[in-house]
Symmetry: D2
Subunit: 115 residues, 4 copies
């Protein structure tokens, strides 16, 4: 499923419930922050080791998965209503960061790069 | 670009810089909350009307786009390191919400649904 | 109750439950972000007008009040474990902002200042 | 400085700049989430050990302190505009949690409680 297909699915879901009036950019940005906070909360008391094993515990795994779906949903809805191409934005960000954080020559020479 | 292609791009970027040790589930969940907070901050003092026009102002548009790319990047990295299929998680969430929030008959009859 | 008295109350509560090991700076910063996200979530679908009247609805008022207490608790715990004087930090921030955002002469002349 | 004195300081600061129109409950809740996200971001790549030593590094310490002041400022402004007594809310929350999370008899017997 492409990003745009997911966005159509979410837009259709909202439209059929007449929720478009709630899905303003400001509200969606706020909802996204709320869901990201709830996702973070799943990890807050875990040690780094416990956090790495979070998906091995079914109840916790389900909660993490559910919160991640919520974050993605609101991010894609926000991108949709603002007409932002998040796929292009991500690619540009990676290109920009390639320049900002150059890989040390040595690292390349030592084969940390596979290409 | 599929979700998994984006994840490979991000994983490769991190790996070439030896940043894998920073990209633990707990750290990524925290970074995601941080970026969602920064995205929300772009909208905090705007009226709903101003927020709806945020992409018409180039400086602000660039900031919003950049923060959205950051949120997506950390969400996809987190999904990758936890081995969570966010596309499937989103689809399941929509299916679940179709049951939790049934569309009123009337709304369907009035043609708010296109299918 | 002073800030430090509140901190003692919270420290004592945590200590009696042997929760000190959970209350590390990193965990508390994460918990604070989580609670701030939950507080924001109480307002996410409200219009500005509805948000202004949120305390008039008992159920909603209780939730907002509870989330605010959580945010304050984690902020004070974090300040305690990091030995940060938040009262002094707030005063310094206000002083700094007085310089960064000077009040226009006109505004003072028109009596927007009471002193 | 009491909570209410801090709130007067902040209200006066906002009023002299005619910022009251920005300080709506919804905007302040969003700003609080943003600042909590920025505070979390200060800790995101640190190990638990590094996070515990964050105040020993002057630059980092200043950033943490500044973000904490921002979180407190917005929380107190929000409480002020909503007319919420956060001190009472915190006390009630502690009382509630005393009931929800009773201290094991053994722990009391072993002297983890000082009273």
């Amino acid at each position: 499923m492409s990003i745009s297909t997911m966005q159509e699915l979410l837009a259709d879901f909202a439209e059929r419930r007449d929720w478009g009036r709630f899905h303003t950019p400001k509200n969606l940005a706020m909802a996204l922050a709320g869901e990201a906070g709830e996702l973070a909360a799943e990890f807050q008391w875990l040690t780094p080791e416990e956090a790495a094993e979070v998906m091995a515990e079914p109840g916790k795994a389900g909660a993490v998965r559910s919160e991640m779906a919520d974050v993605l949903s609101y991010l894609l809805r926000l991108a949709d209503v603002l007409d932002v191409d998040v796929e292009a934005a991500l690619r540009e960000k990676v290109d920009l960061n390639e320049e900002r954080f150059p890989v040390p020559e040595a690292a390349v020479g030592e084969g940390l790069r596979s290409d």
